[in-house]
Symmetry: C2
Subunit: 234 residues, 2 copies
């Protein structure tokens, strides 16, 4: 019924990176209802990601692909919105220490809140997000206990919750996967890696040196998969 | 110390209405550190509110008055962003029933998330919001249990939380006050009512018929206070 009446289904937070692309592929596999992607533009350096998100939404034939501009930069300076230097050439051991300069205060909370708004108004059942608490993260809003707290909040925040006891399912299919496992999962689900974009630097080609590039390379190498984007650099 | 080094203080969510103006006045009275207001423009009919917010921020000499455009309308249609008719001439008994068409799905969650981002990046200690669960409300995201859930989330969501065990204080000074009590409190704190704006309709003068106008009139009448904005209508 859910698939037929255009209701149900899921909202998928889609940045255009390899993680959110894989999360979208999992939603495509598991959700019978319509998929709606929400891509947030927030003054990040890598607008190239937005183009990737559009290509991925088309590839997975989503019912609605929304893009919203959320002006984060005046709220919360971060290396990802152009304040301060991007970290380069860091080892994964270094990355695993502390909270990186690419952390944007409150970002996932804002993104989840907007996804909740969309899920309530479109009557979606679930919200997918590609966050990951393993390999390297350091982001406080990628932890399982953070997700549980948002799940609790979401059950109280909406009119649908009051009227129908609706609680959206928060689904974070990559939460406990390593980058290597994410690549393997994406391979099985035929994620078009060439359409994704990970690099933080915002240049024409991936820089190969920022944390995102290095983690991506590590994941592909360990999984024994060739990254089509890396090939274009040589 | 907090007042002297420019840290501490509070972020105040300021819409420009009488409730958020009173909440700002309470913050001015109670917080020794700098106040920063955050006003969200989200395609509401009543852009007049934004002008009111600017005037109030000046009046209370805040250290920083931020305005952000958050495009809610494509996410979540609501009577308040121009979809569907505004309710008019409703009795407070009718208003007290159910969830009104001016409800914007997920709005307070998005607003609080943005305030959290600002509070973390500016090292504010508290977040003030003018929500109210008495007289009439019907909004799910104005309930005390909703606030508690956000407080829990906020304690897990930030880098400052991880590094310094920081939890912002969520302060909702009007949560359990009637409209009459809000007017009395605002009078004591010398809120400049003539600078506030409540009407949803977005015309040059308050319409006097929408829920916001009717509740405002009720509050002033019961408190025995003359509303300077109402005088301009006669």
């Amino acid at each position: 019924m859910k698939a037929r009446d255009g209701r149900g289904g899921a909202v998928v937070l889609l940045s255009g990176g390899m993680d959110s692309a894989t999360s979208l592929a999992v939603a495509r596999r598991d959700e019978p209802g319509p998929l709606r992607t929400l891509t947030l533009s927030y003054g990040q350096r890598h607008v190239r990601e937005l183009r990737a998100a559009r290509a991925l939404a088309r590839h997975f034939s989503v019912s609605e692909a929304l893009e919203l501009m959320v002006p984060f930069a005046p709220l919360a300076p971060s290396a990802i919105t152009g304040k301060g230097a991007l970290p380069r050439d860091r080892s994964t051991r270094t990355m695993g220490r502390g909270i990186p300069s690419t952390y944007v205060p409150g970002r996932n909370t804002v993104f989840l809140a907007l996804a909740l708004s969309l899920a309530e108004s479109r009557r979606s059942d679930a919200i997918y997000l590609g966050i990951n608490a393993v390999d390297y993260s350091g982001y406080p809003d990628c932890r399982p206990e953070y997700l549980r707290a948002f799940q609790r909040l979401a059950s109280l925040a909406t009119a649908r919750g009051v009227k129908e006891h609706w609680t959206p399912r928060l689904v974070a299919p990559l939460l406990r996967l390593s980058k290597e496992e994410i690549v393997r999962l994406g391979e099985r689900l035929q994620v078009p890696w060439e359409k994704t974009w990970s690099c933080y630097a915002g240049e024409a080609r991936p820089c190969g040196r920022c944390d995102a590039c290095r983690l991506r390379a590590l994941g592909f190498r360990k999984a024994g998969v060739a990254d089509p984007l890396a090939r274009t650099r040589s």
